[in-house]
Symmetry: C2
Subunit: 139 residues, 2 copies
Amino acid sequence: MKLGRLNHVGVATPSIADSIAHYEATMGASVTMEPFDLPAQGVKVCFVDTPNSQIELIEPLGENSPIHKFLEKNPLGGQHHLCFEVPDIEEARAWFEGIGKRILGPTRTGAHGTPIFFLHPKDMEGVLTEIMESPKQAH
Amino acid sequence: MKLGRLNHVGVATPSIADSIAHYEATMGASVTMEPFDLPAQGVKVCFVDTPNSQIELIEPLGENSPIHKFLEKNPLGGQHHLCFEVPDIEEARAWFEGIGKRILGPTRTGAHGTPIFFLHPKDMEGVLTEIMESPKQAH
């Protein structure tokens, strides 16, 4: 295991539309993509590009969205998770399992279309951590 | 204002030493710098490099450290702030003041030796936001 790129910081929001307006008007971002639904994760998603990384805006999708609880505690939204890239998701999963870290659910397809899994924040110094296989092509 | 580099994600920890061990043993980071005290901010600091950004580990320094409260609520630690770069700190300060965002205290020297200030999370969609002038030399 070698620490990979910080692919994105996941930021929960009660309204992706409002957050896009915030990142554009306040922070000077240029958001060129349309938000999209990721039903497998129970979230609506939009990426905001920085020159070196991304902010992943996530809004609850459906009643069972895993971020409802987060927004109850943080009604304005806030930092939700960190996502690091790895070259091979299966190898990474075996690595974290081997050292006894709790993995939250199966490996599944993430917002960038590559396989991902999440690690329990209690095993990761309080940080909900997403591990993502790097896209095969540069992005 | 144009959205700049995500210089770092600030992660609070009750023990920088333990966190360095975690990032090295669990995440495969190579931490080459020694932690240092930043008395002006009331924190001890160490940077963990990812290929494209950094994690800033912060541990309370002194009784009045502003992160004591955060650690009371989050005893394991966790994501504390996001830091974005700007080319000119005074211009950025005037920009955020002009649009009515609350700035927390004076502009001061940050962990990278360049001027920084913080924006109130309630004005920034729940994200405590650090604005940092880019170092003059590439890093």
